[in-house]
Every structure is written in structure tokens, then in C-alpha cells.
């Protein structure tokens, strides 16, 4: 290290200049957008959406900001939103409004880290009755005393249906106006769509559980099962329905070959929002998806002839008027410890006006979370499947993810588990037995936590 004296002056000058430029930028560079608030209450609203979806939400925020002169909301997109929120809330510096996922509610509700919305004046007009019946279960959870409270409003809601490529149906000699209704029909359709080349390479399939693979855990519900019984606080992962469902899942890699499938799937993009989306290219004819897929179709393949139907169920479970499907939703909550809770509530109430809800749902191509969507909403909706999605939201058999604080962790386990089953690493029965044990262990731990703290 004796060269301190010999690096040329030029170099030292250059390093000095860089340091000076850096210091200058640090001192005089751009600042965070503390937009001129003119004495208004500034609220930070954390959200996950960017791009098209983000612009629609930003517009609502802008309209709210110009609709009154007391409150100014800043729309801030954040990555890793659930982790950032947990850290900020526990750290005593929460955002004023957060757009979380509905599965976050149990943990925050049980620890009362968010403010129950029924604590606010009823004149805000935020009432549980406003929402479609199946959506209501997403927003409520018992508080510490065991009383059901309303913790959140729905920002947008999407039910999961089956999107299918009608051209592929026709090509395979199937009637595009008669999509499969039962698992048995789905299998038959899938088999007649499958095309395998002479050398064994898969060229086209009807259906794959792993495409897009976002809901690793839902299959049992389509066989009449459930994963969790909130009454008894028992996990139900190893029920007969779940075993049947996941054995059905494994029948696909068994028939087509786990390695051949891997190879086939590596041929199309992992990014669903791209022209390589397997439904758009016709490589997979039927996929379980949410209404947002219509946006992808419109962007990358506007001419695609697609249909939307409820995802099939086991024959014994089928009922025409009561479709089965997952209801997923983004929610808005107010963390405890915010400085202006009523201002946060005022913004939330604004987002729940029917015309605002319908504007955002339309812009996101999603169905409406409201109990009675307007006629115009349905008629003008850009997603041709909106009726199907709405019917699932209104169906008594629309289901939601297990309402327990351990679900986020359990879902990670399920995702890993599904990969193992899909790769035929382990029979479904064994895998489910393992996950059942794990799930019950998590649930028991959570129950023990509540008991220790003396909650109802």
C-alpha cells in the first residue's frame, strides 16, 4: 500500500471530482415528492400496482385530491408490500392507507394492527352489506374478543374461472360453445386437444395444472373439499376430496411424462403478461385465470377468440346455478397508529363509491365486488367473461383462501409441495399427509399464541 504517492495527479483529481459531484447531487439532487400540499393533510397510500393498473388507481387518487381541499393522498408503489407493511407498522411508522391482499387480514386483525372500519361513523357509508355475499367473508375476521369485525374494503376483486382458446377447440373438433363442466369432461377435452410429435415432444396440450400455476392449492375445492375448517380450527389437506384432486393433478404428468412436460413448459415464457403466454399462443387450450387475463389478451393478441366459463368440478359436485371458484381480492386497510385515521377513512370511503368501484374494476378488467353491479357496468365491460366472474362472486360456493394467520406461510409450503407432486417426486397421498401435519402444527401454534394472550 505504498503507492499512495504515485497515482498520478490526474487520477486523484478525477476521484475528487467524482466525490464532489456525488456530494453535490446528494445536497441538491431531486427530493421525494412532498407535493405542495398547501397546508393539507398528506396521506401516504402504499399499493402494489404499476403500469396500466397503477395508472387507473392513480387517476382515482388524483380525482380524490381535486375533489376536496383538506386531504392530499400520495400514491406510492412498493415492492414486497406485505413485508414492508409489517416492518413499518411494527416499527411505529405506518403508511396511512395500504393496499394489501385479503390473506393478510387474519394476522393484522388478531393483533389489532389495523383499525376495524366499523369503528368509524356510519355516515362514511362503508357497510358490509354493500359487497357480494361471497366477498364479505374476505373482509371480516374475529378481533381479540372473538367478535366479527369489518377490517377492510375491497379495492378490486377477481374470481378465478377457466379461460379457453376457442380456435384450438374448433381445431380439435370440440364445440367452443360447450366448454367442459366437469373434471371428467375436462380430461376428455384435454386428451383430444393434446398433440405429441413423432419423437415424443409435446406440441400442444388441453390443460396443465402448472399453467400458470399460481393457485397450487385450489384443486380440492373443485372436488367438493376444503383445506381448512374454521369452526374446529382443523386443517383438511388430507381429506378424501383433496387426495382425489391431487391424484387427478398427478395423472397429467403421469400421462404426458414429467420430463416431457418440463421441456414443453420451458418453451413458453414464465412471464404471463407477454405474447408468449401459453393460452395466447395456443399451446395450452384451457387455463384457470382471473379476469385480468382479458387485459393481457387485449394487449398482446386482441384478435384471440377466447371463451370464459366456470372452472370444471367433479361430477358429483356439479350444479349449474352454483359455480365453484376462488374469490381473490385486493383490499384497503388503515394501520393502527396513523396520525389521521378519519382522513384515511375519508379516502377509503371515496374509493368505495359505486361509480369509483366500477371504474377501477372496469379499468382492471375485473368483476365487481359489489352486491348489485349496475347494468352499464356489465354491458360496457371490456371482459367478455364478466358475467361468469360475477356469477362466481355471487355464488354460495365461491370460496376464499383459509382465513387464518398462518395461511401466507402455508401457501408457500403448498407451492413447493405442488412442484413436488407435479414432478412426480412423491405420491399425492404422502405429500398431502405431510402437509396436513404441517398445517395442523401451524394452526395449533397460532391457537396456542391466542390462548397465551388470552384472546377469545
Amino acid at each position: 500500500m505504498s503507492e499512495g504517492s504515485n497515482p498520478g495527479l490526474g487520477r486523484r483529481a478525477a476521484i475528487g471530482a467524482i466525490a464532489a459531484a456525488g456530494a453535490g447531487f446528494a445536497l441538491f439532487g431531486p427530493r421525494g415528492a412532498k407535493e405542495a400540499s398547501g397546508g393539507r393533510i398528506v396521506l401516504d397510500y402504499w399499493e402494489k400496482w404499476t403500469g396500466h393498473e397503477g395508472r387507473a388507481m392513480q387517476r382515482i387518487v388524483d380525482e380524490f385530491n381535486s375533489s376536496q381541499s383538506r386531504i392530499f393522498v400520495r400514491y406510492l408503489v412498493t415492492s414486497g408490500l406485505d413485508q414492508k407493511t409489517l416492518i413499518a407498522v411494527a416499527g411505529g411508522d405506518p403508511p396511512d392507507i395500504v393496499g394489501l391482499w385479503n390473506y393478510n387480514i387474519p394476522l393484522y386483525a388478531e393483533t389489532e394492527a389495523i383499525i376495524p372500519l366499523d369503528e368509524f361513523d356510519s355516515s362514511y357509508g362503508v357497510r358490509i352489506e354493500n359487497y357480494a355475499p361471497a366477498v364479505r367473508q374476505l373482509l371480516t375476521h374475529p378481533d381479540r374478543t372473538g367478535k366479527q369485525r369489518l377490517w377492510a374494503t375491497v379495492n378490486t376483486c377477481g374470481t378465478i374461472a377457466m379461460y379457453y382458446n376457442r380456435s384450438v377447440f374448433r381445431d380439435a373438433g370440440l364445440d367452443p360453445d360447450r366448454p367442459p363442466r366437469t373434471i371428467e369432461e375436462l380430461d376428455a377435452y384435454a386428451k383430444s386437444i393434446e398433440r405429441v410429435s413423432a419423437d415424443g415432444g409435446i406440441e400442444r396440450v388441453g390443460f396443465l395444472h402448472a399453467e400458470p400455476g399460481w393457485w397450487s392449492w385450489i384443486w380440492g375445492y373443485h372436488f367438493g373439499g376444503t383445506l381448512y375448517d374454521p369452526e374446529t380450527d382443523r386443517a383438511r389437506a388430507d381429506s378424501a376430496e383433496n387426495i382425489a384432486a391431487f391424484e387427478w393433478l398427478q395423472s397429467y404428468p403421469r400421462r404426458l411424462g414429467a420430463d416431457a412436460l418440463k421441456k414443453f413448459r420451458s418453451g413458453f415464457g414464465t412471464a404471463y403478461s407477454s405474447p408468449q403466454n401459453a393460452l395466447l399462443t395456443g399451446q395450452v387450450a384451457m387455463v384457470p385465470q382471473g379476469p385480468w387475463l382479458a387485459n393481457v389478451i387485449q394487449t398482446f393478441s386482441p384478435g384471440l377468440d377466447y371463451g370464459v366459463a366456470p372452472f370444471p368440478v367433479a361430477e358429483a359436485v356439479y350444479r349449474e346455478d352454483e359455480p365453484v371458484g376462488l374469490i381473490d381480492s385486493d383490499i384497503l386497510v388503515i394501520p393502527r397508529g396513523v396520525k389521521h385515521p378519519e382522513a384515511s377513512m375519508e379516502f377509503i370511503a371515496y374509493t368505495q363509491r359505486p361509480e369509483v368501484v366500477e371504474y377501477l374494476s372496469t379499468a382492471h378488467f375485473k368483476n365487481s365486488p359489489l352486491a348489485s353491479p349496475s347494468r352499464e357496468f356489465i354491458e360496457r365491460h371490456p371482459n367478455r367473461g364478466v358475467r361468469v366472474h360475477n356469477a362466481i362472486a355471487a355464488s354460495p360456493r365461491g370460496f376464499v383462501c383459509p382465513r387464518t394467520r398462518v395461511w401466507p406461510q402455508l401457501k408457500d409450503e403448498f407451492d413447493a409441495s405442488m412442484q413436488r407432486m407435479w414432478g412426480l417426486a412423491r405420491p399425492a397421498r404422502e405429500e398431502l399427509a405431510a402437509i396436513q401435519q404441517r398445517a395442523q402444527q401451524y394452526l395449533d401454534e397460532a391457537a396456542e399464541q391466542r390462548r397465551r394472550r388470552g384472546y377469545g
Binding site: 476521484i15 403500469g51 416492518i87
Partner: protein, 287 residues
Amino acid sequence: MNGRARTSWGRFGVHAVLILTAAAFLLPLVWMALTSTKTGSQAASGALQILPSPLSDAPAQTVENYRAVWTDPSVSFPLYLRNTLIVALLSVAGMVLSSAVVAYGFARIRWRGRGVMFAIVLATMMIPFPVIMGPLYIIFSKLGWIGSLKPLWVPAWFGGAFNIFLLRQFYMGIPRELDEAARIDGCSHWGTFWRVIVPLSRPALAVVALFHFIYVWNDFLAPLIFLTHRDQFTLALGLQLYQSKAGNTPWNLLMAASTMVIAPVFLLFLLAQRTFIGGVASEGVKG
């Protein structure tokens, strides 16, 4: 010296292997830079294209890519650059100053307990950051620092074990007669430190400053845990936000963003290559 290649064939072989090795190590960075000059569809096209085509469009496309990243409305790179620089400057200043002072205490003052305390300094180097990150976050939140940049730079003002060690070793190599003469002339420890030790240890201080700068610039885990507000993100965190925001950021833009994050480090390396390599070599060999 060791295996000086005697034959020209041997030399040729060594060169060939080293050229291949260097190419393999540089390839990811070269590919990153090349990708950042292409259009989105070229970057993700079916055929392997090494250079952007047509080549004449590349400069305009490059400017366009970097401009798109720099001005992206949902991810504010200029702001993240500023945050990173603030943290880096405050942190480097604190680290150099405090480590230099503490190292002086260990190298030049004889006091009871010195050996034990220095052993503790060395021992703390063994404690992985993840071990303390959880409670550290809780301490910062009790101090009301969550939601500010403080967790990232204030601790640097209390010195770093490795840097203290490094500087102490360097001070030990400075002849004691020099500061004893200063002491006889009536200098206090403070005077000796500033007039004798600091001027003589500039190269070592430069190593500490450079390496700490790189450390701060590169740090991901601490900002991930301690920063909550998007307005306060550093570049490393902003880069991840940029990648994750839509799920499918175009590769050419993502590589442009990565190039932007790497470029300052690269520039510093070009200018101070010897300090870097000399610093690493002396750390490793003396350690």
C-alpha cells in the same frame, strides 16, 4: 519465481487459459452492457444476436433506453441515486473518522484492558449480520429511526471492526519515534493523531474509504429491512423494485438500470485499481 513459464508453448498456453478466464468473467458484464443498447424485441428475440442491429441505430436506442429508466415515473432512479449518495457520504465519513480514532487508541496508547478489548473487536467480525438484524430493527424502531435513512449511516460513526483492525495494523508499521518526538514536543494524543498519524496513513484511510463506499453502495439486506418508504430507497433496492414492478420488465431496460447501478463502481475501480487490489491483497495476506 514460481513456475515462470520457460517455453514459448507454455507461455502461449498460460495466455490462452487466462484470456478465456478473463473473457468468462467479463462476459456477464459485457452482455449486460450490450443488452442495454438493444431494443426490447431484439433483446428477447428468437435468434442469438450479439450486436444490436442495425448498428447505426444503437446510439439512439441506447440513449432512449437509459432515458426511459432514468425518467420512469413509478421508480425514481434520480431520487435513489441521491439517497444512496447521502448514505454513502455520511457513512464513509463516519467510518473513516471513527475507525481511525479507535485504531489509534489500540495502536498507540498503552492502557489496561487493551488486549482484551482488541480481541473482542476481532471476535465481533465473526458475528453474521443476519444474527442481529431482527433486534437491530426493533432497536431502530424504538429510536424512531424506521422511515428514515439513519439506520444505514449512523452506526458507521461508531467504527467497523474490520477497518479498525486494518488501520491498527497499518499504524503499527509507522515508526514510533515519529509520534514520540511529537509527544515530547508537547503534542497531546489528539495532536499526534492529526499531525503525525493521519498524514502518514492516508493510503490506508483511502482503502477504508473506498471499501466502505463499495460496501454501502452494494448493501441490499440492511436497506431491505430498515427502509420502508419508497422515497428513501437506495439504488440496490430500487433496482429490485424496478425489476419486480410489472413482473416482466423489458430486459434491455433492466440491463440499462443494472448498468447504471454498476457504472460508478466500475469507474472508481478504473481510477483506483491499485488501491483496490493492493487493499484486498494486504487484508487477505496479513489477516
